[in-house]
């Protein structure tokens, strides 16, 4: 029951983007189309789950005073690994996401979960928290990406629906991300009120 709660929290209730409103910087940068959003979600999921796992495993060996530098070492190690792997095996994705991957190091979702959850909880709970938060992040990022790509470029996952010349370019620029996040947040609040 407790495990299920840890997994579930990140998806809607404590959705990192739409509820906790952290990690918005990469959200603005890569959510201009659905494909980039999915790729970035995968990279963040890998780093978040691994870092939660390791931080939880070493939490008893970690002195309180230097926990933050240790978290950063763990996180940046996994970011660099995912950077190398993407560059080696998924070069097309790397071309689109290359600049944003190093930014995962300073993505506050990952450091935030290490500090707020993984440092205080057992390994299994922390991994589940990582999975839940990653799913929530992916859900938010891909929804924003789909909306922005439809309105801003007339396509979804690169498949064109209508003439891109009639699309609203503002939607694939940064203001479009803020507008979309605002509407999605409002929709989520409304939905939750109705359900409860």
């Amino acid at each position: 029951m407790n495990l299920w709660k840890d997994l579930n929290a990140g998806i809607v209730k404590e959705n990192p983007v739409l509820r906790l409103m952290i990690g918005l910087c990469p959200v603005l940068a890569v959510s201009n189309n659905a494909t980039n959003a999915l790729g970035m979600s995968a990279a963040v999921a890998f780093v978040l789950i691994c870092s939660n796992w390791v931080v939880a495993a070493i939490r008893k060996l970690t002195p309180d005073e230097i926990r933050i530098p240790i978290f950063i070492i763990v996180i940046s190690t996994f970011v660099t690994i995912s950077d190398y792997i993407m560059q080696a095996y998924y070069p097309e994705l790397y071309v689109a996401l290359g600049v944003f991957v190093p930014l995962i190091v300073v993505n506050c979702i990952i450091l935030g979960r290490a500090e707020a959850f993984a440092y205080k909880n057992p390994v299994l709970n922390s991994v589940l928290d990582g999975i839940g938060m990653s799913l929530g992040f992916a859900l938010a990022l891909v929804s924003i990406g789909v909306v922005r790509e439809i309105l801003g470029a007339g396509s979804v996952f690169g498949v064109t629906f209508f003439n891109p010349a009639t699309a609203a370019t503002i939607m694939i620029l940064p203001p479009g991300a803020f507008i979309t996040i605002g509407f999605l947040m409002a929709a989520l609040n409304k939905l939750e009120k109705k359900v409860l």
Partner: protein, 149 residues
């Protein structure tokens, strides 16, 4: 004092483990990464030089609206443009980024150093992206200037 040394030692141990792990991953991904970048360059060269692969591919980076536009221009032995490809650009998505569209790039094929290459006169510029279009024209002229037939 003793406490600080202890903390430093713990941090150092974490750093060594992390460095060791990274070195291991680097070792088996590096050859693949190098092969990839070589392959990408080869493919781009073949793309701008066409099937017979004759002539030279010149890399130029004219300054665009928001940073350099890295492009590869294929020039045949007679000094005419055979094809061009934008390798890297940071122009505005939806406007300047349309310089990568084949419809725009096709207009440059067959131009030589003697032709005038000006946006709006000789080349249809991209709507709302005059600076980006002008940068590509400048890049093509620069590349033609570098190769003497």
């Amino acid at each position: 004092m003793g406490k600080i040394l202890k903390l430093a030692a713990i941090l150092a141990v974490f750093c060594v483990i992390s460095a060791g792990g990274l070195a291991y991953v680097y070792l088996f991904t590096q050859p693949k990464i190098e092969a990839n970048s070589k392959l990408t360059l080869e493919n781009s060269k073949r793309e701008v030089l066409g099937k017979d692969n004759k002539g030279t591919a010149v890399a130029v980076s004219p300054r665009g609206y928001s940073g350099p536009i890295d492009m590869l221009v294929g020039i045949d032995p007679q000094g005419k443009v055979k094809g061009l490809k934008i390798l890297n650009q940071r122009e505005t998505p939806g406007l300047g980024a349309n310089i990568t569209k084949p419809g725009f790039l096709r207009q440059f094929v067959g131009k030589s150093a003697k032709d005038s290459i000006e946006p709006k006169k000789d080349i249809d510029a991209i709507t709302g992206a005059t600076i980006s279009s002008r940068a590509v024209c400048r890049g093509v002229r620069e590349a033609l200037g570098k190769v003497k037939p």
